[in-house]
Symmetry: C2
Subunit: 169 residues, 2 copies
Amino acid sequence: MRGIMSTPTDFSEMNCSIARSFGVMGDPWKALIIRDVNLGLTRFDQIADDLGVSRKVLTQRLNEMVTDGLLERVAYQQQPVRCDYVLTDMGADLVPVILAVLAWGDRWLIGETGVPAIPLHRGHECRANVICAACRKPIAAADVGGAVGPGGTVGPGTRLIGSRMRQRA
Amino acid sequence: MRGIMSTPTDFSEMNCSIARSFGVMGDPWKALIIRDVNLGLTRFDQIADDLGVSRKVLTQRLNEMVTDGLLERVAYQQQPVRCDYVLTDMGADLVPVILAVLAWGDRWLIGETGVPAIPLHRGHECRANVICAACRKPIAAADVGGAVGPGGTVGPGTRLIGSRMRQRA
């Protein structure tokens, strides 16, 4: 997995929403689990079969996702207990973000064979666009700056960027 | 890093734009590097100082990002050669996606201290929204389905989801 194999950095300790978010949702298996659960594959065996992932890795990912608040277990059978995995509001709120990632991948990582899948939104074909909520325009990298927020601090992950953001503000 | 420590799965072999994209950009360090480069921290030492990341890990991530087409090296000095890292079009196109991730983190992972940083778009405060390019409405998870695309195949990562997408189409 190249870049994903890594030192055990705890990104939740960084005071940056990008770092914290990617620490929670950047793992590819987790994004695929959210995709599957949202499309109706809600049981362990279904997800394991779909992804071709080991039961050990899947168990670990699902446990973390429940702990982090992305998924809930809802029992559909007692004795033995069997559960569906369902998205929490927090997990469901990742679906549009994942569609924005998918649109980027469709543009840059898919060759001439054509896209593997077409997302649908209320039944029509859907490409996710990221816009600025204030002016409703698409966001281009060159137009992006940053300002220090009320909770901003200087530390690992933000040691220089705070002063840089002041320059760009 | 919990969920990020993983088996060495090559997500680029999965025929899914979500899997491929997260394999390329899901690593938290890479997202932070794109953040830093886009805000003007373009040199190795600046990025290393800002992130508090080891030189070994940073070198590995930067090399992968150049190989994958997210960054380019542009020499600003010869003898010895010293480089700025600049975003390619492919890398720049990730900036709005990362802002969508940031907005999600601001909503779900930041406590009462307030957000660490406020993104700016053309100088005004900006929250990224993910909308459907077709109908211009925000995308909610419950409204999302999928259809098999022209390049769709059945394999690891898509073993069951293809038939499931047909049901939701």
